[in-house]
Symmetry: C2
Subunit: 332 residues, 2 copies
Amino acid sequence: MTLSNTLVALAAHPQGMVKESDMTLQTAPVPALQDGQFLVKNEIISLDPAIRGWMNPGTTYIRGIQIGEVIRTFSAGQIIESKHPDFQVGESVWGLLGAQQYALSDGAGIVKADLAKGPLSWHLGVLGMPGMTAYFGLLDKGKPQAGETVLISGAAGIVGTTVGQIAKIKGCRVVGIAGGPDKCRFLTEEMGFDAAIDYKNENVLEGIRYTCPDKVNVFYDNVGGDILDDALSHLAWGARVVLCGSISQYNSTDPHGPRNYMKIVTARGYITGVIVFDYFNRYAEGINDISAWIHAGQMHTREDVYEGLENFPATLLKLYTGQNFGKLLLKV
Amino acid sequence: MTLSNTLVALAAHPQGMVKESDMTLQTAPVPALQDGQFLVKNEIISLDPAIRGWMNPGTTYIRGIQIGEVIRTFSAGQIIESKHPDFQVGESVWGLLGAQQYALSDGAGIVKADLAKGPLSWHLGVLGMPGMTAYFGLLDKGKPQAGETVLISGAAGIVGTTVGQIAKIKGCRVVGIAGGPDKCRFLTEEMGFDAAIDYKNENVLEGIRYTCPDKVNVFYDNVGGDILDDALSHLAWGARVVLCGSISQYNSTDPHGPRNYMKIVTARGYITGVIVFDYFNRYAEGINDISAWIHAGQMHTREDVYEGLENFPATLLKLYTGQNFGKLLLKV
């Protein structure tokens, strides 16, 4: 019996802001399983800012998606067929399984989702790629010390809220930058942030000065652009700037760099970044810690769940217009 | 007897490119010596790119020069009067003694020039601030390893040539970026660089790709602007970008940041900087090493010497138009 696969394919490399028409829904037969492969039935798909970068033709830290190829996403589901000795039918897994119903895998980059740590959807959020990005980016690259100030841009997203909550657990003062009063209230009232700056309604530089009287020891940047310049202007001595993303620039045809980049010299700090794939062999550390913090009530997560592969393009666009609130997911 | 001091004072904070009229020659009596002070008769003045930044009104890593105040420079001379227990008449010293004939000092930041290590002018060059900037910026921040590739912008200046020669001594492949065929030939034929890229007549990015086949492990940047973007595009895994200066931007009213800044993330590297003043207590290490390398014939230096305080403004401008060749100095 040949299964039919429904998938979202790249129709065109986006020019500037990604459009729904850059993607197209297709069906294709699922190829027969080879030795060393297994077949996953995807249950839930993660919509992450990085997808926009992957849609460009060139190779950065990962090969760009080709036209006609399934959109690369982190997805989670159950193994329904296996010719791989290490992966058994019935196991739940997550990885780069794509925006599709069924995915063949040889196991590379695939993580088994331990449902005792949390429901499957968490394995695409706090316990998955965004959670690991937050955990290792903050702790391994930002190296926050108790009493220091951690500033986070794109703070209301899944990476931002996870970074902020971990920083609080580590004894830091935590300030988030987000768009709109609802997201800012969410940060201070539900996520335990010490302060939040509403970039849509406040002067960000003044906000940083006001909320970070001892300046910024760690800046965790998901946004880039003017907000990065503002943060660079108010760094403490020895500051660490961790570049995680630059969502303000992903859809720009004329991206601009940080004018204030020389401030890192004055601050005697450094600018570095985090690529989550580098920590693949250490995910268990992050998953164990975050799962324990959630079960102890020290950490919270919020999801924003949509449904249906046909809604993938419209749902993806919510990421870049600042409309989503919590981890953006799509049920297959 | 009251001495009369001739000095170059700031007439106006420059707007964009510094002009001769932003400075003015003045005379003033030398104040009487207080206890704990000494008087230096300056013999030679150093013209360094950093001066342009100091002419801006704000404070960065150092207070901006005020209008009417003497232009801050590193200068070297002899002590002709002293009420300071640690500084004796006849000793040669260098430090931030300014663009003037006579300078009073309390000894803060003043270094005694050991003429056995080299002539007084060297203490404003390879054995002075530029040499220390090169030495500590490269070794302490760039951490070059034998076999690695070190790329240097503004390579024909005193900092650039010193960085390049130290990197060669440490076993690195060294490539310099400079303006014009004469400077490029100087780098490869006299300074021992493996290759040079002429930014005035070559495509810099292509030049970097061609001359750095194993990519760039350490980029030592004196220039900023487009050249920084080009270097960021060709970094090796784990690259270190050491920001020393951004001379291409100092006179710009609309400075631009590196568009390619996220490349540091892909490269798993970091961007940091060097402020020479931080190494004040370690200058002896650098002076001893560099002096020994010069006396062993492993390192060379070139000077570009002018004369007369009245020529200070015109001489300073040579720095920002790429006209000077070797360490720019002015005899008083």
